[in-house]
C-alpha cells in the first residue's frame, strides 16, 4: 500500500493511524527558530468520528487508507443490516451493520441515494443527503390557519425519527428536513 510523507499531508487525505482509517482535517507545519520541523495534524477517525491530534517529525510518513466515498442507493433494512446498492449499473450490494449506519438511519428513505464510505470494501460510515423529504406518520392534529411563527410540536416520520415541527403540520404531510441538524425546513408540495 502506498504511503504519504508529511509534506504530502493535506486536508481530505485518507491515511491509517493506529490501525484505524482517518481523514486529515488540518495540517499545521511548525518550525520554530532554526530547529527541526514538525507537522501538527488533526485527524477524523472515520470509524468512530472522533477527532485525534498527533505531531510528526517532518519526513515521517503514514500508510494510505483504502477508503472510498461512493454514492449508493438505500434498498431496505432487515433488522440487522442496512442494504445499499451501487448506482453504476453493476447492481452490486453492500450490507452495513446498524452501528455503522448510526444516526443516519433516521434519514434513510428507500431508493434514496446517499454516500457510503468503504474501507477495504467494507462500509464504515453512511452519510445521508443534506436534505431529505419524509412523510409524517404521527403528530397531534394541525391547528387550522395557524401558519404564524412560534410554537412547535413533536412529529414522527416514516423512518421512525421524531423531530420538532410547526403547529400547522398534519399526518401525511411531506416535510423537507436538514439532516445535518435534524431541523424542519419546509412542507413540500404534493
Amino acid at each position: 500500500m502506498a504511503s504519504f510523507a508529511t509534506n504530502e499531508f493535506r486536508s481530505g487525505l485518507k491515511v491509517m493511524l493506529e490501525g484505524d482509517p482517518c481523514s486529515i482535517l488540518e495540517n499545521e507545519f511548525v518550525k520554530p527558530g532554526k530547529g527541526q520541523a514538525f507537522n501538527r495534524v488533526k485527524f477524523r477517525n472515520l470509524k468512530t468520528g472522533r477527532v485525534w491530534e498527533r505531531t510528526f517529525k517532518s519526513g515521517e510518513s503514514l500508510e494510505a487508507a483504502d477508503v472510498m466515498d461512493l454514492d449508493m442507493e438505500y434498498l431496505y433494512a432487515d433488522g440487522e443490516f442496512f442494504h445499499f446498492m451501487k448506482t453504476d449499473g453493476s447492481f452490486e450490494q453492500v450490507a452495513a451493520a446498524v452501528a455503522v449506519v448510526g444516526e443516519a438511519k433516521d434519514w434513510l428513505k428507500e431508493q434514496e441515494v446517499c454516500q457510503v464510505t468503504l474501507w477495504n470494501d467494507d462500509p464504515i460510515a453512511v452519510t445521508p443527503p443534506n436534505f431529505v423529504e419524509l412523510e409524517v406518520t404521527e403528530t397531534d392534529p394541525g391547528l387550522k390557519g395557524d401558519t404564524a411563527q412560534g410554537g412547535t410540536k413533536p412529529a414522527t416520520l416514516s423512518t421512525g425519527a421524531t423531530i420538532k415541527v410547526p403547529l400547522f403540520v398534519n399526518i401525511g404531510d411531506v416535510l423537507r428536513i436538514d439532516t445535518r441538524t435534524g431541523d424542519y425546513v419546509s412542507r413540500s408540495k404534493g
Binding site: 495540517n27 511548525v30 518550525k31 527558530g33 532554526k34 520541523a37
Partner: protein, 267 residues
Amino acid sequence: MLRRRAAALSDIRAFFAERNVLEVQTPVLAPATVTDPHVDAIPAGDGFLQTSPEYAMKRLLAAGAPSIYQLGPAFRAGERGRLHNPEFTLLEWYRLGYDDQALMQEVAALVDRLLGSDQYTFNRYDDLLAQSPAPAHEPEELRLAAAIESLSARRVFITHYPAEQAALARLHEQEPGTAARFELVVDGVELANGYHELGDEAQLRARFDQDNEVRRRLGKPERALDEAFLAAMAAGLPDCAGVALGVDRLLLLAFGARELREVLAFD
C-alpha cells in the same frame, strides 16, 4: 490585495531610502548553499535556489559595501503550511557598526511603520522555554513553539539564544553559552531572525562542519562549504548586525489574514 502589497513594498523601500541603506540584488541561483541541517535548498541547474541572500550580501560587505538591504524571493524545500510557502519574499538587511541591540530598535521601527506602533518586550530564550506549557519530555522545538504560541505580549524579541543555536551570530562575551541572536514574534508569528554577525572564518568553518555532521546523522545530503563566502570572511567582515524578515508574514499581520496564501498572488 495586490495594491496593498505593492504599497507595503514601496513603504519598506522608503524606510531604507530615508536611512541611506542601499538596495542590492544578489543571485537567486548560486552554486553553493547553506549547511544548516534544518534548512533544505531546492537544487536547480548547477546549483541551488537560495534559502536567503545572506552569504552574497556578506561578501558585498567584506568587499566594502555600505549598509545594504535586499527585498526578494527565497526558497526552502518542503516548507508548506499556514505560515510557510516553499517560495517566499525575504527582506534582509545589514547595518555597519550596529550590534544586535541597535538592530532590534530598527526592526521595531520598521514593524511600527507597517503595523502601527506598539510595545515591545524582551524575553531571553531560556526564560521563554521555561514558561512553555508543553510537557518537559517533548522535543525542545515543540516546547519552544508552544511557549511562543502562549505569549501574552503581542510583540516579543527573543534574545540570548543558546550557543548551539547561534547559527551565524557571534557569542556574547559577557554571557557565556549565549549567542547574539534574536527573533521577533508578533502575535505568535515568527517574523524576523537577526544576528550580531560572526566574521571569524575559522569559527564559521567549524560550525559548518558541525552542521554537516548533523546532516550525516539525519541521513541528509552534506553540503559543500561556500568557499567564496569563507574567503570573504577571511579577508574581513566589518563589524555589523543583520536580520532577515519574512515579508509575506508581515503582510499577513498587516492585513489580518490567517494564512500566508491570502497575501500571495499565487501559492
